[in-house]
Every structure is written in structure tokens, then in C-alpha cells.
């Protein structure tokens, strides 16, 4: 491992931890770093520990889950398509998962005793699969620009449907519309988050287990095949992983845009293109972006709270434009 990669790892971890503590200490009741650390490890006064554990830690968890999932999914998709301008939100996967969730919630509201929460991840995964199949599944239309534009077109279309469903349920529920259009932590209940946290960890462990063959895939299909990897199978599995990761992120935080695009590209600056080095840093950077956005959304405009997705958009979209401008 070279020095630059090591610096990348250390730096991204430190940034991530620092942002976590910052998020825990800022707010209506501001706590000192010492109080936060004490409360985290079981000590400290009662108020501090309630604030940290009950009010702020769920946001940290939600930010970590969405950040890690979106970043990992973005990196996988970029590896598969050999295209640095791709992620789950550009390809319409997030919008598909969102629409799946919205449809389920809309239907669930009209059927009594329907366990919406149980089926939510399935609906999101189905929506995500369908939209990716529509965007990437067409034969003979392989141009890079067309793939991206189809994603953009599908996102516009699906967002229209979401807007219609949500506004028709209640004409003034803009906050709820925005959850599924641009992303927001809509449920910060511990039980809810625990399930998705576990799912996220399981998926990311699988990605780590695939580091070696995926590293070969970065070098090209031929290289991967020559080193004894079953390329077709690997690609299919990776695609499913990327979809599942995006779907988990969307069920927790709505259709958050472009984190999966920004994180891998920043990580590449620090540690080059080697997949094994890139993956952990990408995940850390994704988490850092989400934590930063949560801090801004929850604190900068008090007493108003912003949906975190809007802040993410303001951070990541200019970065995308910058990348596009550099190309």
C-alpha cells in the first residue's frame, strides 16, 4: 500500500468521525465534545445522554447508512459501466425505488392492517430493478450519452408520477413530496433504522468479499476473464448488489441525488483507481458528505429544518457540473 492511499484512508476516517461528533454536539441544546463522548460511552448527565442517544444518534445512523450505501452503489455502477459520470440517481434507479415506495405507501394507506414497513424494501428493490432494466436493458443502444440521458428522462417521468400521487393525497404536503423527490430522513425510529443498518452492513460485507474479482473487472472484461473470473456472473451479481444498496438508501432517506457520483470521484483523487483501496475511502467519503449535509440541514436554518436531500443537491450538483466541465 502506498503512502498516498494510507493518507486517504486516515484522512477520510478522521473527517468522518469529526463530522459525527459535530453532528452530535450541535443543535437546540448544544453539547461540548466532552459531554458527547461521555454520553456515548454511558457516562455523563441524563439530559446529554437523552439528547445524544434519542435525538441525534438516529440522524447519524441514517446519514451513515445512506452515505455508505449510495457511495458503494455508485462505485459499483461506475466500475460496471467504466463511466465516471454514473450513479444510481443519474441512472434513474433512485427514482424507481422512490416510486416503488410511494406506490406501496399510497396503496397501504387504503388497505386496513397492511404492514407497509415490511414490504417497503421489496417495493423499493422492485422499482429500482424495473427502472434500471428500462434504462440499461435496451439492446444496441450503448452510447454513453444515451445511457445517461435515458436515466435523466426516466427520472423526470417517475418524478412526475411521484409528484402527482403525493400531491393528490394532500395538496400541501410538500415536505412529504420532497422526501421522495429529493430525499429526507423521514423515519428516524431506532427499530426502523436498525433493520436497514443491518441490511446495509450485510450488503457492504458482500461487496468487500468481492474486492478481488471486482479489482480485475476495473482492468477490463478480458483481463478479468483471463484471471479466471466468470465475468457475466460477476457483472450480474454486482448489478444486483448496486441496486439493492441504492434501494436500502432510498427507503431510509428518499431519492438522494448524486452522492454515489461524488464520493468515488473524490476518493479517486486520493487513492487512485485500485478498487481495493478505493472502496473503503469511497464509503467514508459518502458518509462524510451525508453527515455534512445533515449538519447543515438540521442546524444552519434553525428553527426551520430542511430536508437533507436539498442540501445534498446543493453540495453534489455543482460538483457534477464541475466534473462535466473538466471532461
Amino acid at each position: 500500500m502506498n503512502k498516498k492511499t494510507l493518507i486517504g484512508w486516515v484522512a477520510s476516517t478522521i473527517v468522518m468521525l469529526a463530522l459525527t461528533i459535530l453532528l452530535l454536539s450541535l443543535g437546540d441544546i448544544s453539547l461540548s465534545f466532552g459531554q458527547v463522548l461521555q454520553a456515548l460511552f454511558g457516562g455523563g448527565d441524563r439530559i446529554a445522554s437523552i439528547v445524544v442517544w434519542k435525538m441525534r444518534l438516529p440522524y447519524v445512523a441514517a446519514a451513515l447508512i445512506t452515505g455508505a450505501c449510495l457511495a458503494a452503489s455508485g462505485l459499483l455502477l461506475q466500475t460496471l459501466t467504466h463511466n465516471a459520470l454514473v450513479d444510481s440517481s443519474i441512472l434513474g434507479v433512485n427514482a424507481g425505488a422512490s416510486l416503488g415506495a410511494v406506490l406501496l405507501i399510497t396503496l397501504g394507506a387504503s388497505i386496513r392492517g397492511f404492514a407497509t414497513d415490511t414490504w417497503l424494501p421489496l417495493a423499493a428493490v422492485l422499482g429500482a430493478c424495473l427502472s434500471l432494466a428500462l434504462v440499461a436493458g435496451q439492446k444496441g443502444t450503448g452510447s454513453r450519452l444515451q445511457l445517461l440521458l435515458r436515466g435523466v428522462a426516466l427520472t423526470a417521468l417517475l418524478n412526475g408520477v411521484i409528484l402527482m400521487l403525493q400531491l393528490n393525497m394532500n395538496s400541501f404536503a410538500f415536505d412529504r413530496v420532497l422526501v421522495w423527490l429529493s430525499g429526507s430522513f423521514w423515519n428516524v425510529d431506532w427499530v426502523f433504522l436498525r433493520h436497514y443498518g443491518l441490511a446495509a452492513i450485510a450488503l457492504i460485507v458482500i461487496v468487500f468479499a468481492l474486492i478481488r474479482p471486482l479489482g480485475m473487472l476495473v482492468l477490463g472484461d478480458d483481463m478479468a476473464a483471463a484471471s479466471g473470473v466468470n465475468v457475466t456472473k460477476l457483472k450480474r451479481g454486482t448489478l444486483l448488489l448496486a441496486i439493492a444498496l441504492a434501494a436500502v438508501a432510498v427507503t431510509v432517506g428518499g431519492a438522494i441525488s448524486l452522492v454515489g457520483l461524488m464520493a468515488p470521484n473524490i476518493a479517486k483523487h486520493w487513492c487512485g483507481h485500485r478498487f481495493a483501496a478505493l472502496l473503503p475511502v469511497t464509503i467514508m467519503v459518502g458518509e462524510a458528505i451525508m453527515l455534512l449535509a445533515t449538519i447543515v440541514a438540521n442546524n444552519l436554518f434553525l428553527p426551520a429544518l430542511l430536508p437533507v436531500g436539498l442540501v445534498v443537491a446543493v453540495i453534489t450538483m455543482p460538483y457534477f457540473l464541475f466534473l462535466l466541465f473538466q471532461q
Partner: protein, 325 residues
């Protein structure tokens, strides 16, 4: 496709627009025949004259403006995927209107107009600056950069609305619609159409040369950058007026010019009139849907047109005959 004569197509479209206008006049919570405009019941006539007629006129005019803006942009960028809403012009106007209103400007017709023209102009300049290269317009940057820029501006508009607790106030602007169209708005929109048509008539030669490459245009004695400036100005005027009247409605300018070009493949300037008529017909049809499908609630118009436009855009992109983009 059988080639139709220009006049036949225009006449057909005009009949379609008038028919849809009549339908839109009669549609609503209560259905009245268009002849109710001259009925003896004062309550009904006032609904027809003060609510429905302005709405019909505004919808037709805005549709015409947006379709023409789309045609201009497609000519300007020489590619089929361009539209003021895709490229952030509409979003820019929306954001500027919100900012103006929140800074204490009363949203009178005049204020609305200049604010949204200013916003549209700034946004379009940003997108063009992003897309310009030494060799001319870079299509990838223009479309992809434009779409992302557009959603960035839309997110900012939502954020501004949420922070100032005014999303309800700006609902019509954010989701688009003709719900509260007034007589003065209808008047503004239709005078906007007239102004644009007059400019287009005077400049139709130049505009038709826009689709040529720069060297050919120059050899015909036209300065290509002047033509582009003119077209850009027209786009800003069209989109600005449309947003000022109806809020952020997208994708009208995407499909209509292409359907017209398919029905009647001809030079740019010959397709201007059918495109505007087609846009008016499309907007009227969508508006009728918006007010009837879930009556007495109204569907958000921007969502409806995004669905139509998204399907259309997706179909273009998946068409195997259009590999070259």
C-alpha cells in the same frame, strides 16, 4: 409519412385547438356547453367569462410559447433533446419569482414578467456558458449539464420555499397550473404570443439559417452569432412569459416540435406556425385532463406534462434509428 401541405396542416391544427378550447371551456366541476357564454344566468356567465375563458386563453398561449421555445432551442443546439425546462430556463424564472416575492415585491403582472424574464435570462446564460467550447456548443455538456443545473435550481427553489414557509403560497408556481388564471394574465400571455410572432416574422430568414453550420451561414451573408443571440433572446422571452403566467411547466417544448417535424418535415421557419398551434393544443388537452380526472381536485400540471414529456424523451432515446446523437 405522407407529406401534407402546409396550409392543410395549419388548418387541421387550428381546428384541433378550437375544438380543445371549446372542450376546456365546458369542462370543470360543472359541465356547461360553450354556448353558456351567452346564457341569461348571471352566475354561469360570470364563471364562463371570468374563470374559464381566461384559463383557456392562458393555457393556449403558454403552450404555444413553450413549444416555440423548444423549437428554437432544438434549432440552436442542433439536436432533438432541448427544451427550456430541461435546460433550467424555467427553473431559473421560478426561483427568481420566488426570491422577488420574498423580498417584498408585490407579484403584479409587470413585476412577475420582468422577474421571470430576468431569471430565465440568467439561467440560460449560465447553461450556455457551461456548454460553450471553442468549437461551439458541446451537446453532452449542454443537455447533461443543463438537466443537472435545472434540478439544482429547482432544489434551491424548494429550499427557499420550505425555509420561508411559503410552499403553499408558491404552490402554483412550483407545480405549475392555470388554476387561478385571471383576465389580465390571459391578456399578457396572448400579447406575449403576438410579440413573439411579430419578431419571428421579421427574423424568419435568419432563424431558418440557424440550423446550418457556421461557414454556410456566413457565406449566405448571415452572422451566426447574431442569429444565435436572437434565438436565445426569443427563448428567454417565451419561457419567461410562460413561467410568469403558469409556473414551472416542463417538457412541452420537447415533444411538440418533433411531432410537427415528423408530420411535416420542412424548413424551420415553415414549421413555426404549426409548432405553436401544436403546443397550444397539447397544453389545452393536458389542462382538460388536469381539471377533470380527479375533479374537484386538480392534478399538478407540471407532473402531467413531465410524464408525457418523459415518455416521449425516453422513446426518442431508445429509438434504434437515432444512434447518432
Amino acid at each position: 409519412m405522407m407529406r401534407r401541405s402546409k396550409w392543410a396542416l395549419n388548418a387541421e391544427l387550428l381546428v384541433l385547438v378550437l375544438g380543445l378550447a371549446a372542450l376546456s371551456l365546458s369542462a370543470g366541476v360543472h359541465w356547461y356547453a360553450p354556448s353558456a357564454l351567452w346564457t341569461s344566468q348571471p352566475q354561469v356567465t360570470s364563471i364562463m367569462w371570468q374563470i374559464r375563458l381566461p384559463r383557456v386563453i392562458a393555457a393556449a398561449a403558454v403552450g404555444a410559447l413553450l413549444a416555440f421555445a423548444g423549437q428554437l432551442m432544438q434549432g440552436l443546439s442542433r439536436n432533438p433533446i432541448a427544451d427550456p425546462s430541461i435546460l433550467g430556463v424555467n427553473a431559473g424564472a421560478t426561483l427568481m419569482l420566488m426570491l422577488g416575492a420574498l423580498n417584498g415585491l408585490a407579484l403584479t403582472i409587470i413585476n412577475t414578467l420582468w422577474l421571470s424574464l430576468l431569471g430565465a435570462g440568467i439561467a440560460f446564460m449560465c447553461v450556455l456558458a457551461l456548454a460553450m467550447r471553442r468549437g461551439g456548443l458541446d451537446v453532452l455538456r449542454f443537455i447533461l449539464g443543463g438537466t443537472v443545473f435545472s434540478s439544482l435550481i429547482t432544489c434551491l427553489a424548494y429550499a427557499v420555499g420550505l425555509l420561508t414557509n411559503s410552499t403553499a403560497q408558491f404552490r402554483n408556481l412550483l407545480v405549475g397550473g392555470f388554476t387561478g388564471a385571471t383576465a389580465s394574465q390571459a391578456l399578457t400571455a396572448s400579447s406575449g404570443v403576438i410579440v413573439v410572432v411579430i419578431i419571428a416574422l421579421f427574423a424568419h430568414k435568419e432563424l431558418s439559417l440557424m440550423v446550418l453550420d457556421d461557414t454556410t451561414a456566413r457565406s449566405l451573408g448571415v452572422d451566426p452569432s447574431r442569429v444565435r443571440l436572437l434565438a436565445a433572446l426569443l427563448v428567454v422571452i417565451c419561457a419567461g412569459i410562460a413561467v410568469a403566467i403558469a409556473g414551472n411547466i416542463g417538457f412541452v417544448g420537447l415533444g411538440v416540435p418533433q411531432v410537427i417535424a415528423y408530420l411535416h418535415p420542412d424548413r424551420f421557419e415553415k414549421n413555426m406556425a404549426p409548432t405553436m398551434l401544436g403546443g397550444a393544443a397539447f397544453m389545452l388537452a393536458v389542462d382538460v385532463l388536469a381539471k377533470t380526472v380527479t375533479a374537484p381536485n386538480e392534478l399538478p400540471l407540471s407532473a402531467l406534462s413531465a410524464i408525457c414529456g418523459g415518455i416521449f424523451l425516453f422513446a426518442i432515446l431508445s429509438d434504434p434509428r437515432r444512434q447518432r446523437l
